[in-house]
């Protein structure tokens, strides 16, 4: 025993030893920053980085919801289409002139977005839990439905905020800043802080992890698996709504192609962040880190001339596969 006493690497694994998998995304982020610097020194300028993080807001916030769904053992492929659907309805409502006062109208539209997001999430959740349909199929179907409804609402074109005054009032939600920090960045961190608190510190969060880790154990412990999963989908819907709320003022319009492949990016951010796709492990800050990584990779491609930016989707697809391989290697230890 004494001769090998210094070799602790293979000592029994404990709950405090998951660190490798948890740290990996942050190491990757740091490496990317270094790589970005060599590709183009402008990359690490404060202005550029702020810009990149601001643009990652939509995916980061949606991915927070995806972290809940995935760590509870589910999956939601419909988020991209849901963004387009909720945003379209929100703009149509704003154009309806139902509320005269622009400020009140804006608040009402935001509330509506949140309600619609929650309702879309609830629909997804109920189909998978009460309807007992595989999340993959259920949300694939809903993806088609949300996308189709959006195309129908916009008649294949785009839907734009018509009221000039309203547009001006809404603009700062994406373009504004507080003490120099762009509002989308604030929204990312506030949403993530709430998500982290709920997942790590509350009873519901513990139940999410338990259900994702072993559904039967959760059920035998008196936890309502259906309720926990359904709420996870509702949280996903709410996150989509928050993303929509900061997305709409950016262009002031949506189209049938809004949010295409966002589900791929959101799930990639979650997986890159170290959340287990089979459920039972959720890493909120890892997810945020994953979203930054995706945006930074895109930005580096744009700033450098190594790779065509039209290949971005292919690169993101490759990243999720590589992340899975890395995760599996780290988990095996």
């Amino acid at each position: 025993m004494s001769t090998v006493a210094t070799d602790t690497t293979k000592a029994p694994k404990t709950s405090k030893d998951w660190d490798m998998a948890a740290i990996a995304p942050f190491v990757a982020l740091a490496l990317l920053l270094v790589l970005g610097y060599f590709a183009n020194p402008n990359f690490v300028s404060l202005a550029n980085l702020t810009n990149v993080i601001t643009r990652s807001a939509f995916i980061a916030i949606i991915a927070l919801g995806a972290t809940y769904v995935i760590s509870s053992g589910g999956l939601d492929l419909s988020v991209g289409a849901m963004v387009a659907f909720v945003a379209s309805l929100m703009i149509l409502f704003m154009n309806s002139g139902a509320v005269a006062d622009p400020m009140l109208m804006l608040i009402a539209a935001m509330m509506l977005a949140l309600i619609l997001g929650a309702a879309c999430g609830l629909t997804n959740g109920l189909i998978t839990t009460v309807g007992k349909i595989e999340p993959f199929i259920a949300t694939l179907g809903m993806m088609g439905i949300y996308r189709g409804l959006t195309t129908w609402l916009s008649q294949g074109g785009s839907i734009t905020v018509r009221d000039r005054e309203l547009q001006q009032l809404y603009r700062p939600v994406y373009f504004g800043d507080v003490f120099g920090v762009p509002i989308p960045i604030i929204v990312i961190f506030v949403t993530a802080a709430i998500a982290a608190f709920v997942l790590y510190r509350t009873r519901y969060g513990r139940h999410v992890i338990a259900v994702g880790s072993n559904e039967e154990v959760a059920r035998y412990s008196g936890i309502s698996v259906k309720k926990v999963r359904t709420i996870a989908y509702v949280i996903q819907g709410l996150c989509v709504a928050v993303a929509v709320i900061i997305y709409v003022p950016r262009l002031g319009s949506t189209s049938a192609t809004t949010g295409i492949l966002w589900e791929l990016q959101a799930i990639t951010a979650v997986v890159v962040g170290g959340t287990a796709l089979r459920g039972g492990v959720g890493r909120i800050w890892g997810t945020i880190c994953g979203a930054f990584i995706l945006e930074i990779v895109g930005n580096i491609m744009l700033l450098s001339n190594f790779v065509s930016e039209y290949l971005i989707g292919a690169i993101q697809g490759a990243i999720i596969i590589i992340a899975m391989l890395v995760q599996r290697t780290l988990m095996r230890k």
């Binding site: 025993m1 090998v4 006493a5 070799d7 602790t8 690497t9 293979k10 000592a11 029994p12 694994k13 404990t14 709950s15 405090k16 608190f197 510190r201 509350t202 009873r203 513990r206 139940h207 992890i209 338990a210 880790s213 072993n214 039967e216 154990v217 959760a218 059920r219 035998y220 412990s221 008196g222 936890i223 309502s224 039972g280």
Partner: protein, 513 residues
């Protein structure tokens, strides 16, 4: 092969398989130390020891899953080293796993030939495989349709398929890893016969088990491991089960079962009338009194587990249930736990504990609402609860941060018990409380169960181990084919009586269809 055979190996005494000075170290932990072991042709050699004694590591070395850190393996006197399980199989060493490792949706024949299918050209030759499967099962004294889907078979039948599958490989040594852990006495008897048949063919059998009477019955020699060391190796005829237990634990196990004061006629806590769990149990009626330990005996598949799961709302069930005089109907575990009825599943690993989570998370999972302050979980109180549980239930763990899956079976069961007791239930239903648990821990768990009853809680124990039911219960209900067919109490609590009720052999012309 280089001929550097050991010096003193005259032909007829060379054992089939020999391990000399086998040691295995994982990191800083030495789990096996200097084990010498021989298996001769045509003998059953039993390996016994408590959980963590090193039995499974030893088996894994012999079956090629692990390489020994030190020591040597010899087959017929010639040193060998296995690169993996397939290599060991090529040398004729096969292992029958404790868990059933079959594809549930495939047929008996498809499972037996899985990975070594026979074909005619590109197509599979189902006829030949079905015949082969039928023959293999017959040789084991069984009778199964080769086209039967495995998920529809009983545990014992599945095990037969598993054994047939393993024996399809040309073999000289067969290792059985706790093969009777989930079998009823009846099925165990049948399995022991299979093992005798295998032995009669001149095959060497290594037999690992916790069940000492069974070891006494089947084994020719017994080797006892404790803390990774070989503490004794004897002809079975020289040892009684009590001696084996003493060698395993390292001290006298005078009494496995705690003293129980006969429960006086106290008030009824739980009254169940005509309870049905569709497809599993019909018309179950029984009462449970305060401070009583009530046993449920029966063969596997008799519907005991399903009846209990139906009662606590884990399965759809219907009937008149009153708890302390109030009618109740539980639709989920949440409601039954709230009413003070806790059920501990027989499937500790699959349904009881989150194996990949730490002890604290597991302990408080069912009672989290007691650990909430404001919106938050109070981690300090959780940690205190874990300390208390470790103390109260003697959960042996060097490190409080390990994962539940790293505890031994006995300690997992103690953790599960602690988890449920945090809810302070008045009725505790424990399904197979000591399955796969070594003697030392068994004794403790019996003590805990008795203590809970002493505190005035009412306990139901479902078990396939009759001595255990007889040892700790006040009364025993026997189930057969979904019905409670009898109750035994006092001096009638004998294995004989229970077996007769469980199998229905005294019920005249047997089972009416």
């Amino acid at each position: 092969m280089s001929v550097t055979a050991p010096v003193a190996s005259t032909v007829h005494t060379v054992p089939l398989l020999e391990g000399a000075g086998l040691s295995k170290t994982f990191g800083i932990v030495e789990v096996l130390k200097d084990i010498d072991l021989t298996v001769r042709a045509g003998e059953v050699h039993a390996i016994i020891g408590e959980n963590g004694a090193g039995k499974s590591t030893l088996m894994k070395i012999l079956a090629g899953n692990h390489q020994p850190t030190r020591g040597e393996l010899r087959i017929n006197g010639a040193p060998v080293s296995f690169s993996g399980p397939v290599d060991a199989e090529n040398h004729g060493i096969v292992l029958v796993h404790q868990e059933i490792l079959l594809a549930p949706d495939l047929t008996v024949a498809q499972n037996i030939y899985l990975g070594r299918e026979l074909g005619k050209g590109l197509a599979l030759d189902d006829r030949v495989m079905n015949e082969g499967a039928t023959k293999a099962i017959r040789e084991l004294g069984g009778d199964l349709d080769p086209n039967a889907i495995v998920s529809r078979l009983s545990i014992a039948q599945r095990q037969l398929v598993q054994i047939a599958r393993v024996l399809l490989v040309p073999h000289r040594i067969v290792i059985f890893d706790e093969p009777t852990a989930s079998l009823t006495p009846h099925e165990t008897e049948a399995l022991l016969k299979v093992i005798r048949d295998i032995r009669a063919k001149g095959v060497g059998v290594l037999y690992i088990s916790h069940r000492l009477p069974e070891v006494k019955e089947i084994a020719d020699r017994v080797t006892v491991l404790r803390d990774g060391r070989l503490v004794a190796s004897h002809e079975t005829s020289e040892l009684q089960p009590a001696d084996m237990a003493r060698l395993m634990v390292g001290r006298d196990v005078a009494k496995l079962y705690p003293d129980r004061h006969a429960a006086e006629a106290r008030e009824t806590v739980l009254n169940v009338e005509n309870f049905d769990v569709p497809g599993y149990a019909q018309g179950a009626s029984f009462t449970l009194r305060k401070g009583e330990i009530l046993g449920f005996a029966g063969l596997i598949g008799a519907g005991r587990t399903e009846l209990m799961e139906g009662l606590v709302g884990l399965r759809p069930g219907k009937g008149k249930v009153t708890l302390r005089g109030h009618p109740v109907a539980f639709t989920d575990v949440h409601s039954s736990l709230k009413a003070g009825v806790a059920y501990l599943s027989e499937d500790r690993k699959g349904k009881g504990l989150l194996l990949t989570k730490d002890l604290r998370t597991n302990l408080t999972l069912a009672s989290l609402s007691k650990f909430i302050r404001g919106f938050q979980i109070d981690r300090k109180r959780e940690a205190q609860a874990l300390d208390t549980a470790i103390e109260d239930f003697d959960i042996r763990t060097g490190n409080k941060d390990i994962l539940a899956g790293q505890l031994s079976g006995g300690n997992q069961q103690k953790l599960l018990l602690a988890k449920m007791m945090l809810l302070d239930p008045q009725v505790v239903i424990i399904d197979e409380p000591t399955r796969g648990i070594d003697i030392g821990n068994k004794e403790q768990i019996y003590k805990f169960i008795a203590a809970l009853a002493e505190e005035g809680r009412s306990i139901i124990v479902v078990s396939s181990e009759m001595p255990e039911l007889i040892g700790i219960c006040d009364r025993i209900h026997v189930m057969r084919a979904g019905r409670i067919v009898g109750e035994v109490e006092g001096e009638h609590m004998t294995e004989n009586e229970i077996v007769q009720l469980a199998t229905g052999v005294n019920a005249g012309a047997g089972e009416a269809a």
